[in-house]
């Protein structure tokens, strides 16, 4: 088997030569992946609770078009993708309070956003290394200002989620009683969409618009397979997100492939393992009950 695969194919996948030098050079990428992995894992718990995986995808396409517009007009790419994501997130939050409306609005917004983004990139005259990196993930290093942006977004979102944790949980799992108890559910859901837009915009920088779900949904979905505990689920989800994002980036440093396939694969494997564990547990408890 080895003979069929050219040796350079393997070294393009994993290559740890000169790793220390590479790491120093690409330290920012690792830190950025850490930020996105952490925040994505945390907000993923609420994405799952609120059943918004599809919304994440819709927001990320609009975020892509914002970033593409920024490239075309020579503006800051992170700012562009934040603006795109926020416009989409707020539109979805305002127009799609009910799940059914929401899905149709996302279905309408998503191709429009993607098409706009492709238009902007097609119009862009120069050569851009990260042109399609916005869709499928970066291979180039994250520069200092970009890392600064991501860090600010990350800290802001984590603090906001921490402070709003209980009302957000209440509104997510038990909206009728939450409203009866006086939680401003409408306002809260707009606030949540803004936080989600920020996280999506940050994630697009690292993993690409098409693959954002691997860091925002998969870790939380995996965590929910193995626990329902209100502290263990977010803790595991963050750990999974960090493992996938940072681990994927570290593996990618040596090779010539983009970061994304490493991250998505690790994230997927974690999910498969958690699912298997949960099935085994269910089978064991079923056996225990019948005997």
């Amino acid at each position: 088997m080895i003979g069929i695969v050219p040796a350079d194919w393997w070294t393009s996948v994993v290559n740890f030569q000169d790793y220390a030098e590479l790491f120093a050079l690409l330290k920012n990428s690792v830190l950025a992946a850490g930020v996105v992995g952490f925040v994505g894992g945390l907000i993923g718990v609420f994405i799952m609770q609120r059943d918004m995986a599809f919304a994440v995808h819709g927001i990320s396409e609009m975020s892509f078009s914002g970033a593409a517009a920024a490239i075309l007009f020579g503006a800051n790419v992170v700012a562009g993708s934040v603006v795109g994501a926020l416009v989409a997130a707020i539109a979805i939050g305002v127009l799609g309070a009910k799940a059914r409306d929401r899905n149709s609005i996302i279905g309408v917004l998503m191709p429009f956003g993607l098409g706009l983004g492709i238009l902007f990139l097609a119009l862009y005259p120069g050569r851009s290394a990260n042109k399609f990196g916005l869709l499928t993930g970066q291979i180039v290093a994250v520069d200092d200002p970009q890392l600064g942006w991501l860090a600010v977004i990350g800290v802001f979102v984590v603090v906001a989620l921490f402070v709003l944790w209980r009302p957000l949980t209440f509104d997510s799992v038990d909206p009728e009683v939450a409203e009866a108890r006086g939680i401003p559910t409408r306002l809260l859901s707009i606030v949540f969409m803004i936080l989600l837009g920020l996280v999506v915009a940050a994630s697009v920088q690292i993993i690409g618009a098409l693959l954002v779900l691997a860091l925002l949904v998969t870790p939380a979905a995996a965590a929910l397979q193995v626990s329902s505990h209100p502290l263990i689920v977010p803790a595991l989800s963050v750990a999974f997100g960090l493992t996938a994002a940072v681990g994927g980036t570290l593996l990618a440093l040596g090779g010539t492939l983009p970061i994304s396939p490493y991250i998505t694969t690790i994230s997927f494997l974690i999910y498969v393992i958690c699912r298997t564990l949960s099935r085994q547990k269910a089978r064991r408890s079923a056996v225990g009950r019948t005997s």
Binding site: Q49, F162, V173, D174, V177, E179, R181, S228, P230
Partner: protein
Amino acid sequence: MIGAGEEAILSVTDASAGYGDVTLWSRLNLEVHPGEIIAVLGANGTGKSTLFRAILGQLPLRTGTIRFLGEAAHKGDRRIGYIPQQHLFRKGTPIRGRDLVRLGVDGTRIGHPFATAATRAAVDALIEQVGATAYADRPIGELSGGEQQRLRVAQALTGEPRLLICDEPYSSLDVRHQDDITKLIVRRRDTAGTPALFITHDINPILPYVDRVLYLAAGKHRLGTVGEVLNTATLSELFGSPAQVVHVGEQVFIVGTPDHHHDAAASTLARGRQP
């Protein structure tokens, strides 16, 4: 049951509600006194849940007022315990039984999300009160309908409510579990005098405890004791079409409700949300 001299907990005065051209109910007067259990009956779309939403301050009335403990009904009054229309939690909902109860205790607060010792004690006491200790630590989505509903009662009993309002607490429960839930609410009535309003399609689970019935139908309503409202003459007049009240053993069935001509048991009406 009606303490004549006692101040009403809830006073609905000359109230009407509707949407667009539709009047759901009008000139509704209802005083709820301590210890009373009142069943709110009526077909789908007659405004039962609308009445509850108005009591919860979520919906403005067209006319009239609703006062709760002497104040105008307002949003987020924690002295009302609310059991919403039952829909089971999905498997995989990331909370345990005790977390649902805890949301009632401190779920509206902002700040760090970790439970204080006082919160934990309050949650334990509530769970104990409804006899749910054995399964409170299991994921909510894995609990049976009856177990979930017990925890909902515990959540509604948070903070010593002065009024309980229960929207279809019996849907998807078998008779034994219906009875369990009823007993919890009746016990609260007996120990603390907390009155309860029940929206229900089937009055039978609470029939032995009901003091009065409010029957809503096509913009009209009747309020009175079970005997005064659930009789053939009153309901025929209310529906504007022949209706018959049938007593089978200790149960009561209404034949010929306006939206359900074919089925003998009004209790099996389709369940859905009110507009």
